[in-house]
């Protein structure tokens, strides 16, 4: 509980730190079966959701970085998404279908911070889909590794 409070406090600090223009910049665009056919989420929208942390190994980095972000299912609920599959699209037009069940079975987050440093498009940001790989043996598999979309920019629900 204390940890959660600190986390919320931290996120508020980060939100205050972000300039107004950055807070209003669209980070994620959700299309398909969502409220009104299209939902654009800004940094301010994500700040309004509950934030979580996952410490996990990844296939492209060393060690066990700590990721901070919001739950994918919270984002989809926020957009009133209704479907079986989410087609995730990255800035470089990398596209992959992710079953909606993943987000309910596992605490998959849309990470905005890695080891306390904000992810940018020059790295794997602004949003990186991160699975709790170390908590579930089944996730250490190429079929799940392919769903770790970095530079996530859009989600299409169908």
């Amino acid at each position: 509980m204390i940890a959660l409070k600190r986390l919320l406090f931290g996120s508020v600090l980060i939100a205050l730190g972000a300039s107004g223009a950055v807070a209003q910049e669209v980070l994620l665009t959700l299309t398909g079966d969502v409220a009104g056919g299209e939902v654009k989420l800004t940094r301010a929208d994500l700040d309004a959701l509950e934030w979580h942390e996952i410490a996990t190994s990844t296939t492209v980095t060393d060690g066990q970085p700590v990721f901070r972000g919001v739950l994918m299912r919270d984002i989809l609920d926020r957009a009133e998404a209704n479907g079986d599959t989410v087609m995730a699209r990255a800035l470089n037009d990398y596209v992959i279908d992710i079953p909606m069940d993943d987000f309910h079975e596992f605490d998959v987050i849309a990470a905005l911070y890695m080891d306390g440093i904000a992810l940018t498009p020059r790295d794997k940001g602004p949003v990186w889909i991160v699975y709790p790989r170390d908590d579930h043996g089944v996730l250490a598999d190429i079929r799940y590794d392919m769903r770790w979309v970095w530079q996530l920019s859009a989600l299409h629900v169908q």
């Binding site: 296939t59 492209v60 980095t61 060393d62 060690g63 800035l91 470089n92 940018t120 498009p121 020059r122 790295d123 794997k124 250490a140 598999d141 190429i142 590794d145 392919m146 970095w150 530079q151």
Partner: protein, 438 residues
């Protein structure tokens, strides 16, 4: 020698079990290692990652050539930097370093960052740098692919080696398992043989004991003949000798006395033969009792009368008649036997009591004498064929009376027991099934 052989067999078995289990453990550990190594990771997709970097370089180059708007150029620039950053990350960088392809890559990245369009970098210089970079990347791409295939092949070699090792271990385990099975089956066969031998030995032992008992019986029978048949024969012989002695013919009283003595001797012989015959019939199972309800008091009274023993024997009947389910002929035989014994082995003129009584579901007839009684050893041996009390060997008797009486009692569902009487004497108790009056 045999013990040494057994020890060898046991240590051989133990060694085989250890070998078999050890090989199975090796096979299992190899299979687990194979399972672990079979997982594919994204890092093994270096050709794709490298290709993407190349594509981003070409895309940025194209955007710069087409004078695209600054947002597009910035995005392309960011993406190219992100790909180079990805190559710099741990697993990718190790792969490139091991392949000797890492050299110079970060120099390209630093050059790129110095020409950052967001910070007013020179577009022409940037374009030239990116073109040169994409050329350099193209040269390395084929090397990345060949390196990746080499790594994969090595991994496959490793896997197939582990696989072969596991297979060999399993085959070894199979062979030692088969040897183990053969040894165990052989052991089981030996055990079975030993059990059969033991059973055969036990049967032989039983047969031997039986034979010994039979031969003991014959010995006692010979003893009986010596004592019990010879005596009356000697009496008769002596009487005949006296009657046919030369000289004065015997007086009529002497003739009668000798005839009486001879007849008594003959009667003894006949009784002996009857008892032996009856025993033989009982032994053969040729005696079938005809069971019915009979008054035990009346049977006892008739026996006493037949033995002309009324002067010494008292029949003490209770208030109620005792009804037994029995064969009257066999029961008379038993009681006659018991009474004869009592008359024979107790002092002349001493009293003998016969007491029929009912005890629950048993009809009992006690024959109590005031004789010398029997020692516990004598009582234990009394029901064996041809056994006679040491103190009475010269009294007439077959040694078959009590065994026969007990056989006859048991034939009728009853029993016969001996027990000492308080104050000297012996009680022989015949018990038979009673007719229970409801």
């Amino acid at each position: 020698m045999n013990r040494l052989g057994a020890r060898w067999r046991y240590s051989g078995l133990g060694a085989l079990i250890v070998v078999c289990l050890g090989l199975l453990v090796i096979a299992a550990s190899n299979i687990i290692r194979i399972e672990r190594q079979m997982q594919i990771s994204v890092t093994q997709n270096m050709t794709w990652i490298f290709g993407q970097t190349q594509i981003e370089a070409l895309s940025l180059s194209a955007a710069l050539s087409n004078d695209a708007n600054s947002d597009v150029v910035l995005l392309r620039y960011d993406l190219l930097v992100s790909r180079l950053n990805l190559l710099r990350d741990g697993p990718q960088w190790r792969f490139l370093s091991e392949a000797g392809l890492a050299e110079g890559l970060m120099g390209w990245r630093d050059g790129l960052l110095r020409l950052d369009p967001a910070e007013g970098g020179d577009p022409a210089a940037l374009k030239a740098h990116v073109s040169a970079l994409s050329m350099a990347l193209r040269q390395k791409a084929s090397q990345v692919m060949s390196r990746e295939w080499q790594v994969r092949s090595e991994r496959l070699d490793q896997l197939s080696k582990l696989h072969l090792l596991a297979l060999a271990a399993i085959i070894g385990a199979l062979i030692s398992g088969a040897a183990l099975a053969v040894l165990l089956v052989d052991r089981e066969r030996r055990l079975m043989q030993a059990r059969l031998d033991r059973l055969r030995a036990e049967r032989l032992q039983r047969d031997l004991t039986h034979e010994r008992a039979a031969s003991e019986g014959y010995r006692r029978f010979a003893d009986l003949i010596a004592h019990q048949v010879r005596t009356p024969l000697a009496v008769i012989d002596s009487a005949m000798h006296r009657l046919t002695r030369s000289g004065k013919p015997p007086a009529p009283e002497v003739i009668r006395t000798k005839a009486d003595v001879s007849r008594q001797a003959v009667a003894r012989l006949v009784r002996l033969t009857d008892t032996a015959l009856m025993m033989a019939r009982v032994d053969r199972g040729a005696v079938a009792p005809e069971l019915a309800c009979h008054d035990l008091d009346r049977i006892a009274a008739t026996v006493i009368e037949d033995l002309h023993a009324g002067n010494r024997v008292t029949l003490r009947t209770g208030n109620h008649p005792v009804t037994a389910i029995c064969d009257p002929v066999l029961t008379s035989e038993i009681l006659s036997n018991l009474l004869s014994n009592a008359l024979l082995y107790s002092p002349r003129h001493s009293e003998i009591d016969v007491r029929p009584l009912q005890n629950g579901e048993l009809a009992i007839c006690d024959v109590c004498d005031q004789g010398a009684g029997m020692t516990p050893e004598e009582m234990a041996a009394a029901f064996e064929n041809f056994v006679r009390g040491a103190r009475h060997r010269d009294l007439p008797g077959s040694g078959l009376g009590l065994p026969l009486a007990r056989h006859l009692a048991r034939l009728q569902g009853g029993d016969l027991m001996l027990k000492p009487l308080e104050g000297g004497g012996l009680t022989a108790r015949l018990s038979l099934p009673a007719k229970v009056v409801t």
